[in-house]
């Protein structure tokens, strides 16, 4: 990006262009980071400081009381155990949903990329339509179907719903990645005696690292941050963190504790932040690859 800017506008001098670029980037970063900074600052304040009403003031006596409260004693409706019980629920919902929807999307995408016929394009079109229909429109039928097969408000049910709702997206991303891989590789594998699944597993998956990481991250953030599906389909024993977070924030009993609310929000967001930090490079690379080849 920098080199493009520098090359296109040599008249201003590459150095000036570069400085301008960094200023722009810094301003954008501050713009996007400011809310996060405010949330962190206020989560570290005790209630007395909050009551003074200055949201922008730095904490005078920073402490983690609000965090501790959010973690283990804030009230989510009748229970007062913080967001802690939701953490494990979120993990056990998110991990299998991400793994299954990503791998199934890869398999689907590869199959659709390989299948050269009008029917394949038709099916791909239908899959894409699935992307444009809002969740809310599909909620009622999904509830009906799941309760008919006895999966409504169960652990298996919520994982199933996440996988199904994720598939159009993952399939599309993988298919667009796989149509960029030369056909001859699959044909060569077939000459060597490898059948479809063997080719997929031994030859195609090992060259899909970038796109696997991208799709897994997108699915992880999507499913971890999901509130609506968790609330409806998970059942009381499996409510994810996001539902508990909302209950804390929306709890009408007693006084509002903004510092606890902010701490709870941060605790809930930590896993997605960690995932982004650890895999940011793959993410950018994969998005670029998908964009060029799609």
């Amino acid at each position: 990006m920098t080199s493009v800017v520098a090359r296109r506008q040599p008249a201003f001098g590459p150095r000036a262009a570069r400085i301008g670029l960094y200023v722009f980037l810094a301003v954008s970063a501050i713009f996007f980071l400011l809310p996060l900074l405010l949330v962190i600052m206020n989560s570290l304040k005790p209630m007395e400081e909050i009551r003074q009403g200055n949201l922008l003031a730095l904490p005078i006596n920073p402490n983690f009381d609000a965090w501790v409260s959010a973690w283990q004693s804030a009230c989510t409706g009748l229970d007062c155990a913080g967001v802690r019980p939701g953490l494990w629920n979120s993990i056990k919902i998110t991990i299998p949903s991400v793994v299954i929807s990503t791998l199934a999307g890869a398999l689907n995408g590869y199959a659709l990329g390989q299948w050269k016929s009008r029917h394949a394009n038709m099916i791909m079109l239908l899959v894409t339509v699935g992307l444009f229909i809002p969740y809310q429109a599909m909620l009622y039928p999904t509830v009906k179907i799941l309760s008919n097969v006895g999966l409504f408000r169960t652990y298996a049910g919520i994982v199933f719903v996440h996988v199904i709702y994720g598939l159009p997206y993952t399939t599309l991303l993988f298919r667009n990645f796989y149509v960029g891989i030369p056909d001859e590789i699959s044909r060569a594998a077939r000459m060597e005696g490898a059948r479809f699944l063997r080719t997929f597993w031994s030859i195609i998956l090992p060259i899909s690292t970038n796109i696997l990481v991208v799709v897994a991250i997108l699915q992880f953030t999507g499913i971890w941050n999901d509130y609506l599906l968790g609330l409806i389909f998970a059942g009381n024993d499996n409510l994810p963190m996001t539902v508990q977070l909302t209950n804390i924030v929306g709890n009408s009993r007693g006084a509002a504790n903004p510092n606890v609310n902010m701490a709870a929000a941060l605790i809930t967001a930590i896993p997605t932040l960690v995932v982004y930090f650890l895999s940011g490079r793959y993410f950018v690379r994969g998005i670029a690859a998908g964009a060029v080849k799609g």
């Binding site: 001859e184 590789i185 044909r187 060569a188 000459m191 005696g193 030859i203 090992p206 060259i207």
Partner: protein, 356 residues
């Protein structure tokens, strides 16, 4: 017994017919080149033989067994692809052993075979590299190695040299030919490059619009092309063509010139009517204007090619090429006569475009 026989192979994609009834008998140990311009169906034919594409009609018999309905790996053949198609995430060693791994070949045999093929192709030093770390020529060798390692008796090549630079291509051509002689396997090689066809093949099948126009030894394809298409496609510069007509006494008439065809060996008896005379540039001699049995022509320009030269003459409203010695080309007069060696000419029917 023939190694491969193709019987009335037909293939279409939708309304587009790619192969119109292809028949071919290939003997054991032959090096066959399928030659044709792009879009003539040669790669499709190869894929049909390999089993990667199914044919709509017809039969493929390999070593006496009808394999038409079998998977590629069950047909006992190997294939080298144009883009090499090495498996990117695997080392060269695993690329070579992958097929045997799937077939469940014992470990010791796999190691032995990989070592054998690595030595044969001199890729021992590359075995632990990934394809991305190899040059084009090295990838090419690995791809050939992968095809040879399972010691299939039949090897298919889909334009394997077209991604190499000119020098490497010439070297690999010679090596492939030697490899064929060493191993004695049957090879079918698809290309659009007539030099590869002429130098490597035991027999060449020239394809055009989904049909085999001629299937013969390369020299007879050059000397006695079976159709107008083959005559024009094979040879550089292209064969000279002159439109005319054959009269009842067997003379070729064009404009107000008549050329006797006594020296020409007709395949049909007493043909007549509209025909095309084809003559290669080396079968034309330059004589004095007005010499008997000659056609007046005037020199347009000459091209010096190093070893010899080409003279381009305007004659009968066409531009004809004539191969000349360097000396003759330098001192060529403008107004001359051309004499055709009719024993080496080719005559084609205008209507059917077949050789007469």
């Amino acid at each position: 017994m023939s190694s491969i026989s193709l019987r009335q192979i037909k293939k279409s994609f939708g309304a587009l017919t790619i192969l119109h009834s292809v028949d071919m008998e290939i003997d054991k140990g032959e090096f066959i080149v399928i030659l044709g311009p792009s879009g003539c169906g040669k790669s499709t034919l190869l894929n049909v033989i390999a089993g990667l594409d199914a044919c709509d009609e017809g039969q493929i018999v390999i070593e006496g067994k009808d394999v038409s309905g079998l998977e590629p790996s069950e047909r006992g053949l190997a294939m080298v692809f144009q883009s090499y198609a090495l498996f990117p995430a695997m080392t060269v060693r695993r690329n070579l052993s992958f097929g045997m791994e799937i077939a469940g070949t014992p470990k010791a045999t796999v190691v032995e075979k990989v070592a054998w093929v690595a030595k044969l192709l001199q890729i021992e030093a590359l075995l632990d590299r990934k394809p991305a770390q190899l040059s084009g020529g090295q990838r090419q060798r690995v791809a050939i190695g992968r095809a040879l390692v399972r010691s299939s008796s039949i090897c298919l090549f889909d334009e394997p040299l077209s991604n190499l630079d000119a020098k490497l291509r010439a070297e690999t051509r010679v090596e492939l030919k030697q490899l064929h002689e060493t191993l004695g396997s049957t090879m079918i090689y698809v290309t659009h490059d007539q030099i590869e066809a002429m130098t490597m093949a035991d027999r060449v099948a020239v394809m055009h619009k989904g049909k085999v126009e001629q299937f013969a030894h390369p020299q007879s394809i050059y000397e006695k092309p079976a159709s107008l298409f083959v005559a024009g496609f094979v040879g550089s510069p292209a064969m000279n063509f002159i439109d005319g007509r054959l009269d009842g006494s067997g003379r070729f008439l064009t404009g107000d010139i008549a050329i006797g065809t006594d020296a020409y060996a007709f395949e049909e008896r007493q043909p007549s009517g509209e025909i095309v005379l084809g003559i290669r540039c080396e079968d034309v001699t330059v004589v004095d204007r007005g010499a008997p049995e000659s056609i007046p022509a005037s020199l347009a320009f000459t091209e010096l090619l190093g070893a010899d030269a080409l003279g381009w003459f305007d004659c009968l409203g066409k531009r004809l090429s004539v191969r000349l010695g360097i000396k003759a080309a330098r001192s060529m007069r403008k107004e001359v006569g051309l004499r055709f060696d009719m024993s080496k000419a080719s005559l084609f029917s205008r209507a059917s475009e077949r050789r007469l």
